[in-house]
Symmetry: C2
Subunit: 565 residues, 2 copies
């Protein structure tokens, strides 16, 4: 019963520490932990058969809940399939607790079946990697206490500053099952053995005084909220800071600020194109979150050699690839915004702010005109999707073109929608599963997953979760232009051959069978009217749906230029 006691002690402490979800992939070596998780009333388990998709599903759960989610698999390459999602979690600061099962010491490095070197398997990609002790029949009490502190500390590290993935590798020797009958030794309502607390990372009065003076001194400032800004009351606090300072708030589609704060500025991916607008240069740039999706915004910011550039990031994670930041402040974003706003001289009716807002308004008016007469192309599909997406809905935006379309056509609005994307590593892997993890976290909300065809193909296996988790309010919008459309935007497009074969990579896949395979209602879409009709029906309904918009990749870029003007 040693393995069982070991696993139950660890799982019990995880539950006491607040863990609520585990994604399990089937396997034998993990039996002690699988049984303990399955038996624990406070932890919900999700089964997935493909560990790569499972890990991205867990990532989606953790994104939606902002709580650590556990992953469990057997020994061997099972855990290697977690690697892409672990890296995304590391780069996006998503709390994951990765539990791999391993063989006992005598089977390691021995050529034993399904036995690989799992110690530090994920190298530098995890925040913490521990090879857990082998369960002992006569373990001293401190060993069991260690299991509890390990559970507590693993959760605290995964949800730390920064949050991210933690790896615990558990060796087990056979027998892996308890004798029957067996009653697990849980105390579901018990307090943790170890509580891990953390203070608030508040800016000091001196730091605030200095930044407030900077803002008071310079009228022409910009606030830039990149992806993965803090949640909670940060969006309201940063909007209030923008209002008081008269600094326009440029909000990335993944910032959590654009779709919920009507005062945010979008459209910049259009109006900052090329040499940018004719404005005077900004004097102060105040950044939150990661690097924005918009290439044009990033290039514009990188050109501001004379501006003061301040980056505030509670996680302490660096995000400045032009190396222009002069002040990096690791502090709570909402608290910093509130403290700053309180020290500012308000700038009502700032001409600078009015100039930016007028540019933005003109941009949306032009895009509206362009879209009104636009044919069926990717950009129009995305604009229609954003138009129809109701308040409270979740949207997972795939890499690589969809997120750029959402950036370009996503108008700021007070209608709050929860928009996510895997922009830590910006991979095309696991996007469907991430969206299904979001859906599983809030099955009552409509969840839309917007992806291109190669992204869809890459993670098709993830769709198994639709049926297995009975996710009814999921709509997958597949923009199928038969290949990697983003490459048409790059200089390589002029190199034919091998452009079409090795970059554009048309595959000719018809995805209707994928809907059939995984139990999604499938609809092929070839017009905007049909898209709007089917999307509206799916958003209102309870049938998981795959809407495949078949667009013309070759014409798409032309349409876009036509619309953008």
């Amino acid at each position: 019963m040693t393995n069982t006691l070991w696993a139950e002690t660890f799982v019990d402490e995880l539950a006491r520490g607040g863990l609520q979800a585990v994604v399990i992939a089937p396997g034998s070596r993990s039996t002690p932990l699988t049984l303990a998780f399955a038996a624990h009333p406070a932890i919900r388990h999700y089964l997935h058969l493909d560990e790569r998709s499972a890990a991205f599903f867990a990532l989606g759960l953790a994104l939606a809940t902002t709580r650590p989610v556990a992953l469990l698999c057997t020994s061997g390459t099972a855990g290697a399939n977690y690697f892409p999602a672990i890296i995304e979690a590391r780069m996006s600061q998503v709390p994951l607790l990765v539990l791999t099962s391993d063989r006992p010491p005598e089977l390691r490095h021995s050529g034993a079946n399904q036995t690989i070197d799992q110690v530090k398997l994920y190298g530098d990609q995890v925040l913490w990697g521990v090879d857990v002790a082998l369960p002992e029949a006569d373990a001293p009490a401190v060993a069991l206490r260690n299991l509890r502190t390990l559970a507590a500390r693993a959760l605290a590290t995964a949800a730390g500053l920064p949050p991210g993935p933690v790896h615990l590798n558990f060796p087990f020797r056979k027998p892996l099952e308890p004798a029957l009958p067996h009653t697990p030794a849980f105390a579901p309502a018990g307090p943790p053995h170890t509580r891990t607390l953390r203070g608030q990372l508040l800016p000091t009065p001196n730091q605030i005084a200095e930044l407030a003076a900077l803002i008071n001194q310079h009228e022409r400032g910009l606030i830039v909220c990149g992806p993965r800004c803090e949640g909670g009351d940060f969006p309201a606090a940063v909007a209030a800071l923008a209002q008081t300072s008269g600094y326009p708030l440029l909000a990335d589609p993944l910032s959590g600020v654009r779709f919920g704060q009507a005062a945010a500025v979008g459209g910049y991916d259009t109006f900052l194109r090329g040499d940018g607008p004719g404005w005077p240069a900004p004097e102060v740039i105040l950044r939150f979150g990661h690097l924005p999706v918009s290439k044009w915004l990033n290039e514009y910011l990188a050109r501001q050699a004379d501006a003061r550039l301040v980056h505030v990031q509670a996680s302490g994670v660096w995000a400045d690839d032009s190396h222009r930041v002069d002040t990096f402040l690791q502090a709570d974003g909402a608290a910093t915004c509130r403290a700053l706003a309180a020290r500012l001289t308000p700038r009502p009716g700032s001409p600078w702010a009015a100039q930016v807002q007028a540019t933005e308004a003109a941009t949306w008016a032009a895009l509206d005109r362009g879209l009104a007469g636009a044919p069926f192309f990717d950009g129009a599909v995305v604009a229609d999707l954003l138009d129809l997406l109701p308040a409270g809905a979740q949207l997972l935006v795939g890499n690589s073109l969809p997120i750029r379309h959402v950036d370009q056509f996503g108008r700021p609005s007070g209608r709050e929608r929860h928009v996510y994307g895997n922009r830590g590593a910006s991979g095309i892997d696991g996007n469907l599963s991430t969206g299904l993890g979001l859906a599983a976290a809030a099955p009552q909300r409509p969840t839309v997953i917007l992806v291109g065809d190669i992204t869809f193909y890459h993670d098709m296996n993830g769709l198994l979760a639709v049926r297995q988790q009975q996710l009814r309010r999921v709509t997958v919008v597949l923009l199928n232009n038969n290949g990697g459309g983003i490459f048409r935007r790059l200089p390589i497009a002029g190199h034919e051959p091998p452009f079409t074969e090795l970059f554009l990579t048309p595959h000719g896949l018809d995805f209707a069978p994928a809907g059939q395979l995984y139990g999604l209602a499938y609809q092929r879409i070839t017009s905007r009217a049909a898209f709007r009709r089917h999307l509206a029906a799916s958003l209102a309904g309870h049938t998981p749906t795959l809407l495949e918009a078949q667009t013309d990749g070759a014409a798409d870029l032309g349409c876009l230029r036509e619309v953008v003007g």
Copy 2:
């Protein structure tokens, strides 16, 4: 043109060093290398859209050709998807040259898009990991020479002792494309800048004298050929050694010896069950290759506490999880067998050998009787498959139950078939792609891929290669018993719940749409007669085919017991 010169120099040297194949996944950062590979006349490129499948496809190519195969991908998590195949390559000693593309130093650790820490990405799982220098506009000549020695040494390490995966990480700064028009600077027929040679690892006369004396001294010996024995003339040499010594040759289905040497002994997975046969204990065990697939054989060998256990493995890789080996000899297997045979006193008509052969013959006779009246179950399908598989065919056997069925029902024969399986890490990932890599290496031969349903599901994406590589002589035999049948054989089967939900994991997938999606002729099979008919047609034809044998997982174990007796 710096990137282009860098990439072309490296690729040119790879070609001069003998590289013939690269599997490319699309991406932007890899553009310089993609263009160089595409332009090189001596290197064939294969495109794949899913890096996980791509890497297993490359593994299959390398297995079939026993030559290094290169992999190329862009920056970010693309390379992380290679991880499962890299680990399998490491554990199975398959030469892979993994080329990841990376961002230049100023974008690393900066939050830049699609930029992760790729230095030593695969940790201890590769034989060698190098972060290649950034291309320089005015590089000294030694830097370009270094690129050539790097290519030569990477190939030599991948094909070394042991063979395995090597990782080179290439940073590139934009622009990634050469100016047009461009003519690559290859000299396809040129000699390598650096030749890497290796001597022969021959046993010394003293080592041979000692082992020959041991064999001459003891009549009761066994030769055990596990998976991944040497190819070439090893099978003939070990068969000759068995003949001379009178030591029965127990040959694993993945040894390369069972299906090509009529004198090999199989059936042991049946006749060594439980306490084993009533023979006296063997005095000498001479092992080659990895640990055998058969649990019963391994347990039998582990019980032979008084036997001398000698393991000969040219790669130097340890394979003894019962820690019984008393002598490990790193030396060429064929040379060792030949040298030993020359020093032995022949034992024609050895009663010990006759006893083992009689046991084996009785086993096959009993299995034949059992199978003659057996219903449609996994074991019968596998027996029929092995019966019909023609000489020269390739067979990829999936984990976890199929390889055990092949072990049990695969009768030794002089009809040479090439049987492979990913038993390094024994994962269920990438099995289809490995088989398709085999097929691509020898498209004129029939290739059969035998997998269970969870294994099939896990790597369905890999089937894209069927159409993309125009593989016509591929037959996928899918044993669909709706879940992880192997768990029925384990003690966990008595723990219901959660046995069915979390271990057996029935998924209810109907795989007909998978055939449709990837362009395989699909046939659902529910009888042995139909299986034999459709398999024979597919083996003789040129249409890629998916034969889904729908068997009853619950009945399967009973049928097996009935047949095995």
